[in-house]
């Protein structure tokens, strides 16, 4: 099955710093999403981005489907950005199955 690898596994930033999170996947996919899991356990959808580039405020994401990776950029980080960031890919070949990466745990220090 598809393998999804996220890096780095852990990241500590000073408030105001920028960061890039990476998601590599081992096969072609139909869908790709980035999520932020907050301290209450909710999965907050950040981007639906099977290809191309999107921006939403301080966050942006780029997926290069032909090279099987996606990047999530966080600029001017805030303490509220802390949490776990997950990449999830879905492959639809007959059936459909979603695989999550192991996540990047981000802590932003004040």
């Amino acid at each position: 099955g598809i393998q999804v690898e996220q890096s780095p596994p852990d990241l500590i930033l000073q408030e105001g710093a920028n960061s890039t999170l990476r998601c590599n996947f081992s096969d072609s996919v139909n869908n790709l999403q980035w999520f932020h899991q907050n301290p209450w356990g909710q999965l907050i959808n950040l981007f639906y981005i099977p290809s191309g580039t999107k921006q939403n405020g301080r966050l942006s994401a780029t997926t290069v489907a032909t090279e099987r990776y996606s990047l999530l950029y966080i600029s001017s980080s805030q303490t509220t950005d802390s949490g776990v960031y997950f990449c999830a890919v879905e492959r639809r070949t007959g059936g459909f199955k979603t695989i999550f990466g192991a996540g990047t745990r981000l802590f932003v220090k004040a």
């Binding site: 999403q33 356990g41 909710q42 997950f86 199955k97 979603t98 999550f100």
Partner: protein, 115 residues
């Protein structure tokens, strides 16, 4: 904005009992999913459901588990004879109505604690 709702938010059950976790997907969605997240670990796919049948299931989704869409609005996950290791957060998601280019929308999860 429409939401996926899950009930209950927290369920405590004795080992060996059956539990039913409930989800109300977004009304015009056609694709439904259940996931599990053991504390501190990644989110794991359990099952996907479309057109009133299972589309795909993971190796975790054994005979202990079943899913049902009993009416036009609810989507349920049943766990029979629960075990301690079933303790986890369970997420429901839905997408659609089209086949392609559809993000999944997640509920807030049900935290299941097996005693």
């Amino acid at each position: 904005e429409p939401e996926v709702t899950q009930t209950p938010s927290h369920q405590v059950t004795q080992m060996g009992q059956e539990v039913i976790l409930r989800c109300v997907p977004i009304s015009n969605h056609l694709y439904f999913y259940w996931y599990r997240q053991i504390l501190g670990q990644k989110v794991e796919f359990l099952v996907s459901f479309y057109n009133n049948e299972i589309s795909e299931k993971s190796e975790i989704f054994d005979d202990q588990f079943s899913v049902e869409r009993p009416d036009g609005s609810n989507f349920t996950l049943k766990i029979r004879s629960t075990k301690l290791e079933d303790s986890a957060m369970y997420f429901c998601a839905s997408s659609g109505p089209g086949y392609s280019n559809q993000p999944q929308h997640f509920g807030d999860g049900t935290r299941l604690s097996i005693l």
